[in-house]
């Protein structure tokens, strides 16, 4: 194994670790900071892949990630929670240790699912798909277990991070046009989330999603 592969593996593990840290996090501010860190790890790993495979468009991806996920989105989220004045602790639907156990279960599931694929690939990508899938599932779990709108959105964005990691590191980057499209979608989605925060708060006087359980099939 060369050093670049080792570094990418290391960064992949850090990505997973941050996903877990987010799952266990109780404060919104730390959650957003963790998200920024995850973006940084993602950007670094993209950069290393770009360097090791000598693909120039990946440098753009790395730069774009750095700009979007480390600077712009966390800044937007910080601004949003300042404006909405929501810095309270995150409430979870299930207590955190249980969530973590479920998370471990998800990681095992993801690794199991990805195992045949990692055996296939002889190169740099070995196992990265599994880690990416695990991060995606963990973020999904976070969205499911959080009651407030902002953590749900951070979960959504973290999920996008996991996917982006799969796209750049596991497959050496999708075509640039696709990556640009994805980045644009994420950005627009964040704006729409922002609009939603205000709409929700205007209507419900709170960003608590549990207010929004009126629509049900009885």
């Amino acid at each position: 194994m060369t050093y670049t592969i080792q570094i990418i593996n290391m960064l992949a593990s850090m990505l997973l670790l941050i996903a877990f840290a987010m799952l266990s996090q109780r404060r919104i501010l730390s959650l957003i900071n963790l998200f920024a860190w995850q973006g940084l790890v993602l950007s670094l790993s993209t950069f290393v892949v770009a360097y090791s495979t000598d693909q120039h468009h990946l440098y753009y991806s790395a730069g774009l990630t750095l700009l979007l996920k480390v600077l712009v989105l966390p800044w937007l989220l910080h601004r949003l929670i300042r404006k909405l004045n929501v810095r309270w602790d995150v409430e979870t639907l299930i207590n955190i240790p249980t969530t973590m156990l479920v998370g471990i279960g998800l990681v095992i599931f993801a690794f199991n699912l990805a195992a045949p694929i990692s055996q296939l690939s002889e190169s740099i990508t070995r196992g990265l798909i599994g880690i990416a899938l695990a991060s995606v599932l963990l973020s999904l779990l976070m969205m499911l277990t959080r009651r407030k709108a902002v953590p749900q959105v951070v979960g959504f964005l973290a999920m996008e991070n996991g996917l982006f990691f799969a796209a750049t590191s596991a497959t050496h980057g999708m075509p640039l046009v696709v990556e640009l499209g994805i980045a644009l979608d994420v950005l627009v989605a964040t704006f729409i989330f922002g609009i939603f925060f205000f709409q929700i708060r205007e209507t419900f006087d709170s960003l608590d999603i549990s207010n929004m359980e009126k629509l049900k099939d009885d």
Binding site: N9, S13, I104, V107, G127
Partner: protein
């Protein structure tokens, strides 16, 4: 007839045993000193633990009238266990005569043995504090031990052996490889180390606050030479844990098999690593806040989780 090699081996084994037992209080002193500096205090000086030990050895022992022999022998067992553990961990060379005994599972067993005795001794007198401390100690260790085992398993998977010298050998003397799984195990190990050595955020070695203390509550009844041995054993335990940490995660610099000439270098490397580790521990303690005792299970649960993640990542990435 013994060969020169064997003779040298025994010599160095003895040397290491003496080294650890003498160095352990110094490490504790160093950690305390760093902590003092970080808190903008002058600090008691590096030698304070030795002075405390000397003072305690000179005092007359006082025993509760209902203390059983168990209470009496516990400090010796404790000291013996910790000394044994610290002495067999490969810290300067990988093929000392006792090193085959340094199996990671056996090490966990040695620590557990010491813990059983101190917990029994704490309950022996029958005071409320002793029992409370024993109960809390058991709660913490029952969560920390599986995490520690998981950490060891991760390392064993990489080197295909549960013998600490073989693990060190595999990590230190083969081509340098970044192991993501070991990074996870390392984080888990730090948490276990904090919990098992009664450091902040799980316990605070500096106070006797009844609501929070764990370790101190158990040894309240000890005095004089017994207390000295218990304190010394605590220092040895911290030393042993840091030594295990060094052996598992930064073994570089340790002398190779049959290469006695590298020993001076290895000892210097060890001292540097211990100094750094002690400072890092102090820094960590300065940064963290003492958590409520009821949060400790969650904290240790995190350690277990990290160790399991490390294992899983090892299986997935093969590294």
């Amino acid at each position: 007839m013994m060969t020169t090699d064997q003779r040298l081996g025994i010599l160095f084994q003895l040397y290491q045993s003496l080294l650890v037992v003498l160095l352990a209080p110094l490490l504790t002193g160093w950690v305390n000193q760093c902590r003092a500096w970080l808190q903008n205090r002058t600090g008691p000086g590096l030698m304070q633990p030795y002075r405390t030990l000397r003072k305690l050895f000179h005092k007359d022992a006082v025993m509760a009238y209902n203390a059983s022999p168990l209470f009496r022998v516990t400090p010796y067992i404790l000291f013996g266990c910790m000394w044994l553990a610290a002495a067999i961990i490969p810290i300067i060379a990988v093929d000392l005569p006792f090193s085959p005994a340094a199996d990671v599972i056996a090490l966990v067993g040695v620590f557990a043995l010491a813990r059983v005795f101190i917990a029994l001794a704490a309950m022996d007198i029958g005071t409320a504090f002793g029992t409370l401390g024993a109960r809390r100690e058991m709660l913490v260790s029952f969560l920390a031990e599986p995490a520690l085992l998981m950490v060891f398993f991760t390392a064993s998977l990489i080197s295909h052996s549960t013998q600490l010298p073989r693990i060190v050998e595999a990590l230190a003397h083969h081509q340098f490889v970044l192991y993501p799984s070991l990074a996870f195990a390392g984080l888990a190990f730090v948490i276990v180390l904090l919990a098992e050595n009664a450091r902040i955020p799980v316990d605070n070695p500096g106070t006797h606050l009844e609501l929070t203390m764990i370790h101190e509550a158990m040894i309240l009844e000890y005095s004089a030479r017994h207390l000295a041995l218990v304190e010394w054993a605590s220092s040895l335990k911290l030393f042993a844990y840091i030594a295990i940490g060094i052996a598992l995660f930064v073994p570089y610099g340790i002398a190779e098999v049959g290469n006695w000439g590298a020993l001076p270098q290895a000892i210097i490397a060890l001292l540097v690593k211990l100094t750094l580790a002690g400072a890092a521990l102090a820094l960590l303690e300065a940064l963290l806040a003492k958590m409520r005792i009821f949060r400790a299970p969650e904290f240790l649960g995190t350690a277990f989780l990290l160790a399991v993640l490390g294992l899983l990542i090892h299986f997935l990435l093969g590294a």
